[in-house]
Every structure is written in C-alpha cells, then in structure tokens.
C-alpha cells in the first residue's frame, strides 16, 4: 500500500504520539485492543485516516495492515478521505424521521449545495466548496428531543428549520 497522498505517518506530532502510547497501556492483555482508540486519536488529529495511517497503526500494534483496514472500512465513523470543514450528522431513524428529519436533511443539503438524493443514502457527501460534509446517520440516542443532529462533536436537539439557517450561516 503506497500512495503519494499517504503522508500522515510522517507528520505525527509528539503530543499525538504521547496519547497513542498512553492509550496502548489501557490494554495490558492485548495490544490489538488499542486499534479503535488509535484510529480515533488519528482521525481526531488528521481528520481522516490515510494509507500511511493504516500502515503506521498496524505496525504500532504488531498487526498486518489488513487488520486495521478491515475495521476502518467496517465502522461508519471512520473515513479515508478528508471531510468538509464542518460535519453535520442528521439522525435518520424512526423517531427523528417522524419529527421531520428528512425535511431537515433536505434543507441542509440545499443550503450547502449537496445533492440530497446522494445524501439520502448512507455516506458523507461534501459540499463543492469543501465547507460542509453532511451525513444521514442512524439513531443518535436522543429520540425524546427529536429531531436531532450533530454539528461536529456537539449534539443539537429539537432542531428547527430556523436552527439550520443559523448553523449553516455560522459555519459558512
């Protein structure tokens, strides 16, 4: 696995390395258990996990790269390409859908210039200007305050159409 874009592994700052070493200590029985934690740390820092990241994490945990690649591709949370600057996750599942999350999702896609037909399927399309990635996600465990979405790492509850306008304007 070589790629000209695979450069993350050459740019690991000391602070990230320190967190990685610390995370591995949480798993005294098996280093492999640190796979997900390392992937989280990596993605939180770089925004996504490139090929060099997969190879680096695998080597760090004494695994073949496939052992990391097969979980990067399994979990919806991880991505191998750069997302937009702001990530909006809209809950798609029943209670939120009943409260109008499809309409909110359409509105967000329209406001950010994303094709909503593309967005209704799973995946994380990015707006042409690179400012937003929008993902229609499954249940976010806040059904009592439906509809909900996440703006980057923050949950927003009882989202209204007016909220969407504000959020998109704020992050444009």
């Amino acid at each position: 696995m070589t790629s000209t874009t695979a450069i993350q592994a050459s740019q690991i700052p000391p602070a990230l390395l320190e967190k990685i070493e610390e995370a591995i200590t949480h798993y005294p029985v098996s280093r492999r258990s640190a796979a997900l934690p390392l992937m989280h740390l990596w993605q939180n820092h770089f925004g996504f996990i490139d090929e060099s990241g997969i190879e680096w994490i695998a080597a760090k945990l004494e695994l073949q790269p496939i052992a990391i690649l097969e979980i990067v591709t399994f979990y919806p949370w991880f991505r191998q390409t750069a997302p937009g600057k702001t990530i909006i996750r809209v809950c798609r599942t029943l209670s939120c859908a009943m409260a109008g999350s499809y309409e909110l999702h359409d509105q967000i896609c329209k406001a950010t210039g994303i094709d909503s037909e593309q967005g209704h399927s799973h995946g994380m399309p990015t707006s042409p200007d690179g400012k937003f990635s929008v993902e229609f996600v499954e249940c976010l465990a806040s059904c009592g305050t439906a509809p909900v979405c996440m703006i980057n790492n923050d949950l927003v509850e009882k989202v209204t159409s007016a909220d969407i306008e504000t959020i998109v304007a704020q992050h444009s």
């Binding site: 949480h26 798993y27 005294p28 029985v29 098996s30 492999r32 258990s33 640190a34 796979a35 997900l36 934690p37 992937m39 989280h40 945990l61 052992a67 097969e70 979980i71 399994f74 979990y75 919806p76 949370w77 991880f78 996750r89 798609r92 599942t93 029943l94 209670s95 859908a97 009943m98 799973h122 996600v137 499954e138 249940c139 976010l140 465990a141 806040s142 059904c143 009592g144 305050t145 439906a146 996440m150 790492n153 923050d154 949950l155 509850e157």
Partner: protein, 447 residues
C-alpha cells in the same frame, strides 16, 4: 442534554435521582454529597456471595434489551477458577428509541463507577471496560475525569478503599456500529477485530468472553441498579417491581406524544395507557392512537385496538386468562412478552393515526439494512431485500405479492443467524405486515 422535568407522581427516581436535581454536577464531591460510594464501602463489609445473592433476590433484569436476570448471569462466573475475569459495561446505546444510558454517562458518571466497583468485587474482577458509542463525543472525557477523581481518592486503582483489592477501569469508544451492542460483537470490537458476533455455544461470555476469559457484559443502567439494591436491600428493591422483574425501569418515550422523554417507573406500576395518556400528556390534539413499538425498534409492534390474552393469578391464586387491551397492558417484562412483544430496552415509540405504517417499516428496514454486520448470508441479503421491497411499495412500484414476500424474507432470516440481530431485523417486518395487513395490501396495489 437538559435537566429532567419534575417527576410525575408515579415516578420513583432512583437511577435518575441525582440528575433530577438542578445544577447536579458530574464531579466526585457532588456525588459524595449525595451519598456517593456509601454502597461501594458497604460491599467490602459483605461476602462476595452475599452480594450476588442480593442481586438475585432483587430480581434485577438486564436493562439493555434481553431482560436476562442479572444475578443468574453473574452466577455463571466461578470466582475462584484461577482465571482472570472481566467486566464490560455496555454503553453502546444504539437501539432506536433508547436514550437513557447517555444521561448517566454524561451527567452521573460516578454512579456508574460505584456500580462497577461493587460488581467487580462480587465477581473477583480487576479490569473493567466501559464501552460507549463514539457519537457520545463528550462522554469519554467526562468518564475519564471521574475515573481519575476516584483514583486520587483511592476508590479505583490499587488497594481500593484500603481493602487490598485492585481495580482498573478504562473507557473504550466504538465506531458507530449498532451491531456492537450485541455482547459478543462488543467483545470482538474490544479485542480490536471486526465486530462479528461470535458463534454460540458457549451462549454466555461468562463462560468464554473477553480474551477467552469469563466476562460479564451488563448494560449501563443495569450496573447502576446494583448500588441501589445494596442501598435499599433486595426485598425492598424487589417489592417495587413485579414477580421476577424488580426495581425501577427507565422508560424512554418518543414519537407522537405531547411530552416525550425518560420516565423512571417502578416496574409494573403503570399500564401502557397511563404512560402515554397521563405521564406523557397524551397525543397531539385531534389525534388517536394507532400503534406502539414497546421496547425499541426491534420489538414487535402493537396495534392500538389489539386485545391480548394474559395469564394472571386469580382470587384463589390459580392462573386465569384475562383479556387485556393495549392501554391496560402492564409494563413489565412478563406482561409485554405475554402480549407477543418485549419490554426490550423500554424504548416506547408511539405512532398516531397520521402515520403510514409502510413508511414506518421502511424506515426501520433501512436501519437494519445499514446495520447488518454482513456475517450471515440470510441477514446480510435479507435485510437489503426487505428494505428494497418496502422502498418500492412506498414509491408506488409495489406488487400485490410484496407484503407476503416481505414476511417470507423475514421468516427466512429469524432463527438462521449467529446472533439475535436476525430476529431484531425480522420482528418489525413480520409484525407490521401481519397487524397492518390491509394497509400493506393497499400500498402494494398502488401504482
């Protein structure tokens, strides 16, 4: 996450006692001021077997979905088998309709830690993991701060409470996959592998679990209840509930009610009708009840006009069969099971007469189609087929045979997979198409 409204008179907030208070902070000092860690200290004055016996006698059932008796599960662990034992707390909270564990994880982390300490002492466990869904982006930091505070105070780490007992607790974030709520999938995920559920037998991780060692996997709410069993004593705790289903249960109500939210109720204290029309303020004006999903999206849907035959003890103690309407259905594990569904994660999704059942089922089918892990062929293929069939019905491209086809696909998934996801994905389709047959037939005929 906002503070809970004042409790309804029928509520009894044990698990949510602290978080009900305005300005309750998740730090150690606040928790200690609320009686925190008293039961952890008490546990060390008891024999481990006494604690297990108390949990058994309390009739605590798992709050994650399967409602398995917690004490029985614990009983599978042999304390002195010389093997390492592990505790994995399941905070993956992903069953659609469920939103209770997140409240504890974010707002009362020490209550969970206290439950973990008691559990680990009872089962001779020295390493515990709290597995949380990664969409709870702030929970890891909150929990880790609480763990650090407890360590500094000598409640976690080496020689806790000066009792010569060591216990380390770590937080582990998932990757946004529903399947990881299945306990053996959770273990594979924790081992850093693709989270494919494990082949059974062994049926219980208590036999072979994390790193092939005896492991207890319990839900966040379940572990919190352990503290209150020691605080109240098993008999008072059990008395709050019904036979075989003790304590309180946090009901999560969402959908078409005026006041959706979490309500902590003594098990069996209210009926479905009281929950919806009294506690949750009823439906929107002018609407009538159409259907209820009683225990998370995987539980079978109940129709508003259904009448169930439920066995109850009569005046002479002998069991008699009684006709029970949906609104009169008592909310405990046994009654909801007798009505042909399950209490599950106690996530009640209410649908009024404005709802299209084909649309609702299609929404759930798309969920299961996305979340199947892909390990077993009947599920991997079947959930996609179900999703495609309900999608085309909704788009007016259905065939008259589609409702039957949906049911047949579901029938060929359930019971033919390694884990219970097969059933979880099939029950909605089976129950929706059976109970709303006319609506599905009409939708199938529409072109």
């Amino acid at each position: 996450m906002s503070t809970l409204p004042a409790p309804h008179p029928k509520e009894r907030r044990i698990i949510f006692g602290n978080v009900s208070e305005q300005n309750y902070a998740p730090d150690l000092e606040t928790y200690l001021a609320h009686g925190g860690y008293n039961e952890a200290k008490k546990a060390f004055t008891m024999k481990p077997d006494e604690i297990i016996a108390e949990v058994k006698a309390a009739n605590l059932r798992g709050r994650g979905g399967a409602a398995f008796p917690t004490g029985v599960k614990w009983g599978f662990i042999r304390r002195d088998d010389g093997k390492p034992h592990y505790l994995c707390v399941n905070g993956d909270e992903s069953e659609p309709g469920t939103f209770k564990d997140g409240v504890i994880l974010h707002q009362d982390p020490h209550q969970l830690l206290e439950g973990i300490i008691i559990t680990c002492f009872a089962l001779n466990i020295h390493l515990a993991y709290i597995y949380i869904r990664c969409e709870f982006t702030h929970a890891k930091a909150i929990l880790e701060k609480a763990i650090e505070e407890a360590k500094v105070r000598g409640f976690l780490g080496k020689n806790i409470f000066g009792q010569g007992f060591d216990l380390d607790v770590y937080v582990h974030e998932g990757g946004g996959a529903y399947i990881c709520g299945e306990e053996t999938s959770l273990l594979e995920s924790l081992e850093g592998k693709r989270p494919y559920p494990r082949i059974k037998p062994p049926y219980f991780p208590a036999v072979l679990g994390l790193y092939m060692s005896p492991t207890i996997v319990n839900n966040v709410e379940t572990i919190c209840h352990v503290k209150h069993i020691l605080r109240l004593g098993s008999s008072e705790y059990a008395k709050m509930g019904t036979a075989g289903d003790g304590g309180t249960r946090i009901m999560c109500v969402s959908g078409d009610v005026m006041r959706p939210g979490t309500y902590e109720l003594p098990v069996g204290a209210v009926t479905m009708g009281e929950l919806i029309f009294d506690i949750c303020g009823g439906l929107r004006p002018g609407r009538s009840l159409k259907a209820i999903i009683p225990g998370g999206s995987s539980s079978k849907v109940l129709r508003a006009d259904e009448v169930f035959k439920i066995k109850k003890p009569g005046a002479d103690g002998a069991m008699i069969e009684q006709e029970t309407k949906l609104v009169d259905l008592v909310l405990d594990a046994g009654s909801v099971a007798a009505a042909g569904s399950m209490i599950g994660s106690a996530a009640v999704i209410v649908m009024d007469d404005s709802r299209n059942m084909v649309w609702a089922l299609n929404n759930l089918n798309q969920f299961y189609a996305h979340e199947s892990c892909g390990q077993c062929t009947p599920c991997r293929e079947g959930v996609l087929w179900m999703s495609k069939v309900s999608t085309r019905m909704l788009a007016g491209r259905g065939h008259a045979s589609d409702p039957k086809m949906l049911h047949t696909i579901a029938d060929n998934i359930a019971g033919r997979t390694i884990c219970a996801f097969g059933e979880a994905a099939s029950w909605p389709t089976q129950s929706f198409t059976e109970k709303f047959a006319e609506e599905f037939a009409t939708a199938a005929a529409q072109q």
